[in-house]
């Protein structure tokens, strides 16, 4: 996955310095983990507005690093949160958690 991100950063954003790439990937990973953790807390509190915002935030980050699956699940979470669909939100968070495990 790291190679995929590096290739995206170099090709799409012209960021080909390996040190910067490493820094960005590390920051993405940190953001991803933290956001998924917050999503779980918001799910427990049935806080749909918070879930929507967190989905939106992670979607934006995923778009910037070429993480298509993360973008898809985040968008799914955002949409479920807009419709107050707690079960749907839970399913999307599950998928994002699985991706988080891959990132580790």
């Amino acid at each position: 996955m790291k190679e995929m991100f590096s290739a995206y950063l170099a090709k799409t954003l012209g960021i080909d310095d390996p040190d910067i790439q490493a820094e960005l990937i590390a920051e993405y990973r940190r953001t991803f983990m933290e956001t998924v953790g917050q999503m779980k807390l918001a799910e427990q509190a049935s806080d749909f507005e918070r879930l929507r915002r967190l989905g939106h935030t992670l979607k934006g980050c995923a778009l910037n690093i070429g993480h298509a699956e993360a973008r898809e699940y985040s968008l799914g979470l955002e949409n479920c949160a807009k419709e107050n669909d707690l079960a749907g939100c839970g399913a999307e968070i599950e998928k994002l958690s699985a991706l988080a495990a891959e990132l580790e």
Binding site: L9, T12, L13, G14, I15, D17, I20, E23, L24, E27, Y28, T31, R53, H56, T57, K59, G60, C61, L63, N64, I65, L75, E78
Partner: protein
């Protein structure tokens, strides 16, 4: 783009996005400042001049739109690019909110380096161009301001009294500067050359031509023998100037006249200009000075135009003749912006007839402009000027004191003393002479010190007219072109009496203000006539005010 680095401020509450954008722009012509909250971004914005701002929309505390409002308090036009997940989020309401501001743009968060650089390049260039245009506009504005001052400085004073005649005029450029011309050149104390003109077009082009014509006219009168000056000759020289030197790039309608106030003789030549309007002051009756419609083409229109001497109009006039010259812009004053008909000539003549007999001639141009405005003609479509010229009868000094006063303390001092002498010796109202002097000293100094804000011209003049009012009073009329005077509340009568007695002891200096003026002249009327303030003071004996009869 040149080698300059452009400052870009990036606001996003996600550190990852900030790092990505900064890394992406690292090798471009941009210097990036990042902030993860609106407060920090605003602080950075206030410290440095930014060429563009990139901002997320949805943020936890202050959102992107609110942040835009905050920076618009400091800069109305800096471009703001909103980063949004275009494909997923964009809808009409979001686009509308972004586009509500003319200098806002959006970019998909799924941007590539190329798309980001292209967008930045586009907005920064647009912003630069707008700034350059804005600077150019400021420069043009300041040049126009200077041109206005130069043009105004080249005009004769708005009012002028000699021992033999007087003139006054209102000069109204449509926009700052004008192609209207009024030139007055004294030839001898009793003779003068006046040229009224209107150069084709408006604005800088015609104003420059006007300035050139003014200097040519001055040269002509210096070079030529005064006795050889004749309207037809002057017109031929002006025509040569327009055709040869200005290469016929514009033309000028004009009326060139030489007045002889000793012989009561006028000789003039009308080159396509509105003819003179003439009135008898006593009756207001008008008469046609040029019934045979003599005249020639405007100068600069035809190289071969002849301006024959036979087309000069010769007129013997009476002492009470009032001459009114104007440019054709006067007829173009409309009642609303699309009014094609303009001022009706007959209506204007009726207004002028009435105004001539009931008012001081010196006020006439302003009074007529105000009267036109009063009946709805308040939308000029062209520059216009209105000039009045009249002989001063040798006897007028026996009943009327008239002066134009330059705006300086020494001149005011001289005039107030002269005025006092006039009231004392000519009107034989000895006891009102001191009051007149103190009142004038106070009021005129007030105008000079506080009232000249509007015209801003130190070369401007005040006109002063004094005559008897009923049996025991003096009417003092002051005409100035400064700020409107605003009356304040009275102080107590005791204070005024004390002030007056102090003044009597120490003699007039200046600047003690309106309460004192009110005390000296309880009857004061004040009017504003299209740029001219008219203040009339009636000074009366104390017994006249209280109704007691004189012994």
């Amino acid at each position: 783009m040149n080698d300059r680095k452009y400052n870009v401020l990036v606001l996003d509450d996600e550190k990852f996005i900030l790092l990505t954008v900064a890394a992406c722009l690292k090798t471009g012509p941009y210097q990036v400042t990042t902030a993860d909250c609106a407060e920090d971004a605003l602080a950075a914005f206030k410290q440095k001049r930014f060429d563009a701002v990139l901002s997320d929309i949805m943020m936890d505390s202050v959102d992107g739109f609110r942040f835009r409002d905050m920076i618009r308090n400091y800069n109305k036009r800096v471009p703001v690019i909103f980063l949004t997940s275009l494909m997923d989020d964009i809808d009409n309401s979001l686009i509308n909110r972004i586009m509500r501001d003319n200098y806002s743009y959006y970019l998909n968060k799924n941007f590539t380096r190329t798309s980001l650089l292209e967008k930045l390049d586009q907005v920064v260039k647009t912003y630069q161009a707008q700034n350059e245009i804005s600077q150019l506009e400021k420069k043009i504005e300041s040049d126009l301001e200077l041109a206005t001052q130069v043009q105004t400085a080249m005009l004769p004073p708005w009012v002028h009294f000699t021992d033999y005649y007087m003139f006054s005029f209102i000069y109204r450029p449509l926009f700052k500067i004008s192609g209207d011309l009024f030139e007055w050149i004294p030839i001898t104390p009793t003779r003068c050359l006046c040229v009224f003109g209107d150069i084709s077009g408006h604005g800088i082009h015609s104003a420059l031509a006007m300035t050139a014509v003014q200097s040519i006219l001055k040269q002509l009168t210096v070079i030529q023998n005064p006795d050889a000056l004749r309207p037809d000759r002057i017109l031929r020289q002006l025509n040569d100037f327009f055709c040869e030197r200005l290469n016929m790039c514009s033309y000028m309608t004009c009326l060139v006249g030489i007045w002889d106030f000793e012989e009561n003789r006028l000789i003039y030549h009308d080159a396509g200009h509105p003819d003179l309007l003439c009135f008898h002051e006593k009756t207001g009756e008008s008469f046609d000075p040029n019934p045979r419609r003599k005249g020639s083409l405007p100068v600069g229109m035809l190289r071969e135009a002849e301006y024959p001497e036979s087309n000069n109009v010769e007129l013997k006039f009476t002492d009470d003749t009032v001459f009114l010259a104007h440019t054709d812009g006067l007829w173009d004053i409309g009642t609303h912006p699309n009014d094609q008909s303009g001022v009706d000539v007959k209506t204007f003549q009726q207004l002028a007839s009435a105004a001539v007999k009931d008012n001081y001639v010196v006020e006439l141009p302003f009074r007529l402009a105000a009267a036109l405005r009063q009946i709805g003609y308040d939308t000029p479509m062209d520059d216009y000027s209105l000039i009045v010229l009249k002989k001063l009868s040798p006897d007028s000094g026996k009943s009327l004191f008239i002066r134009q006063i330059p705006l300086d303390a020494a001149a005011i001092d001289r005039v107030t003393q002269d005025a006092s002498e006039f009231v004392e010796k000519t009107l034989k109202l000895e006891d009102l002479a001191g009051k007149t002097e103190i009142l004038l000293s106070e009021f005129l100094v007030n105008i000079v010190k506080h009232g000249q804000g509007t015209s801003g011209k130190t070369s401007d003049s005040i006109a002063l007219l004094i005559q008897r009012h009923e049996e025991n009073g003096v009417s003092v009329t002051v005409l100035d072109r400064g700020r409107l005077w605003e009356s304040r509340e009275f102080e107590s009568n005791e204070d005024l009496d004390r002030l007056l007695s102090e003044l009597s002891r120490s003699k007039a200096e200046s600047g003690r203000g309106i309460p004192l003026i009110r005390k000296l002249a309880p009857q004061i009327s004040r009017r504003h006539l299209c740029g001219l303030n008219e203040t009339i003071f009636i000074i009366q004996r104390d017994d006249a005010k209280t109704g007691r009869k004189e012994k």
